[in-house]
Symmetry: C2
Subunit: 456 residues, 2 copies
Amino acid sequence: MQDFRITAAAPVDPILLAEAFDEHVADVVARLNAQDAETAASVVAHLPLERAAEVFDRPELARAGELILRLPEGLGARLLKAMSADRAADTLRELDPEDRTALLSGVDFETAQSLKLLLAYPEGTAGSLMTTEVVSVPATATVAETLRHIRQVEHSRETVYAILVVDPQTRALVRVATLRQLIIADPEATILEAAPARAPITAPADADRDEVARLISIHDLLALPILNARGQVLGIVTVDDVIDSIVAASTEDVQKFGGVEGVSEPYLQITFPTMIRKRAGWLSALFIGEMLTASAMQHFEDELARAVVLTLFIPLIMSSGGNSGSQATSLLIRALALGQVRLGDWWKVALREIPTGLALGAILGVVGVIRIGVWQSLGVYDYGPHWLLIALTVGAGLVGIVTFGSLAGSMLPFVLKRLGFDPASASAPFVATLVDVTGLVIYFSVALLILHGTLL
Amino acid sequence: MQDFRITAAAPVDPILLAEAFDEHVADVVARLNAQDAETAASVVAHLPLERAAEVFDRPELARAGELILRLPEGLGARLLKAMSADRAADTLRELDPEDRTALLSGVDFETAQSLKLLLAYPEGTAGSLMTTEVVSVPATATVAETLRHIRQVEHSRETVYAILVVDPQTRALVRVATLRQLIIADPEATILEAAPARAPITAPADADRDEVARLISIHDLLALPILNARGQVLGIVTVDDVIDSIVAASTEDVQKFGGVEGVSEPYLQITFPTMIRKRAGWLSALFIGEMLTASAMQHFEDELARAVVLTLFIPLIMSSGGNSGSQATSLLIRALALGQVRLGDWWKVALREIPTGLALGAILGVVGVIRIGVWQSLGVYDYGPHWLLIALTVGAGLVGIVTFGSLAGSMLPFVLKRLGFDPASASAPFVATLVDVTGLVIYFSVALLILHGTLL
């Protein structure tokens, strides 16, 4: 990538540059994202370091890694230091190991060490989300001393709204004070008197992103301290990082439910090979699973040959099973994600889904029977002399299949969770495939039972 | 509901009550949610008003409306006043009109008026999310005066981190200062000198919840001012309300994508009639749409009777169309929601989905042809003398159906958006139903073309 580096004297679009000075950072990021990488890098190169750092601090900035490599010699390293530590680590994560090492070699020892520490945490953990730039004071400090400290360090800290109060000896976290509490407190009071006497809400560095988001959300925190095993502060995850993370997780959930592997790039920037890679895997796996339907059909080929009329309803019946399953799965994925339902509650869920499935199946069954009866009476289609038995087969088949679909769809997220997978991997196509094969078997079994001696 | 009201002297579980005093509010809420309404109300009735208000300020508190009705005479009204205005309005929203009026009659005139104002905004708008308790100062104030004002009003304001600076004459919003900026500023400076000279990010009261969340998220705001047409402040939406709102929206998105109407209650608390109501509507609509497959099959009944072997692959081929459609829909729903793709970009998307669909269809087609060839060669199943043509029909059919599925699935969210619906209403079952009928027609057309003169 070294060849692509622009020089300090590179030409720059003056209108873009002027906008980059004046507009809201989020708008500047949107404009830079719309430019090619070289143009975007030339604009960044002409910005004051602080403003460039503001732009790079936005997780919405696309190609941050590529842009930083294109900057003139030395500027990339200075920018890394000026950025918030969590975003600097995210940017480095995008680079090849050799580019990463080259860039880090230009950064001072202390910053490089703290960035390497952040890079060591696996993606999706609290450690990878946190920033190491925290405001902390010893428990012996007064409110006035703390405010003085905040004023001194403010420019280099991502947030100053949460003040971490640590034990002067062990450096363990004892309390979290908010700036709000400091403002209204007596300046001569100690920080412990100003902060509420509750144990702080914290998380370990290996906590999951979803758990961090849940804690910040239910406790309305502005920042969540991340502690090591000895209770010392490693960093904090701020509320705005969590929003970005919740939005990303929500996208991933919908995509997964649609049967696509998570894609983080904006749709129009996904390359063709990536698009195929993210979709072909699941699609092929589902296709191979669905081949069992052909085997099931082959098993019933005699019945099919004798009663072709039965095939007319196969798509209708199969899709109803898949649809009811996909409803149940979507309900349970979210219930599990929000902690409304725990793994041990599976039987309570089963006991709710069976009557629900029976009722829904009965509704569809009645509609189906009426449909066949009306078509037959009006002469739209002739289902033969045994039309009533066929209608009954379709109706009873629907009750069985919708019940099975609801039950299977609701249990799948539990099974996945029990096996250690994300319950949200239970996509609608996955459920449909699972239900399709069994649905065919149920349908033909019902047909054999009802039509034996007449059509079959 | 008046009959259910507990008396001030009602017995209370002492352990629950002690916990309600000491624990984190979020944990107290979780405990109260697990109790029956009477027990929960008795605990709330014995808490100091401020603590009870903290509990009711949590949107996670279930049955807030029912609980407030059960409180002793007068306490409900005092609690409404002590709560944050946005949560008080949400709680009132849960009640019947007569209960709401009765409760509001116990509240002082000013509070009642501001709550009625909030209740007038439709659910899901910025107006319904906002709180009217804001910190605002005239543009002529100094930093020291502003800090003094904050200390005075702090106890009655949801957040003091965003200070709204208004024009002393017109009361229009001119700037937003943060507490952070005030802390580091010279106390004698004016508030306009301390706050950055950029126009504030704001939204109108009828802005959509998603738009509010997007603004707060991309601009990393702690609070978003909501303005009327004259630029005056109606209220603010705070970052923690937005997190709750994003989590709720994400649940709704997954449920909708699964073909269920949005359910806000925890899964195990959904009553049986609600469960059926939320699921039967879509399921029946899809069922009726899917009936077209039976009509399509009837149309091809001669072909079916002559070549029963073709029916074996119907479920396989139909589900592949539905699956590829559901992948495309999930990608586009999120791309539209995140603003990565606009309505006018539909043709760009179509130009990406057609080659993607062709490639994915080709992959599945090859797998399908190999499957038939292997089964035939190994003697697992005999597809007859024309097995190669049948394999070709299945392969070509898959290419056509997967391409159509990808295209239809990606265009559906655009069509819905164009028609004024939420693109997220495009559920996986909806797409599958849409693709199923066309899929059958494509399959049989391909079969007629390839097998004409041999099997058909």
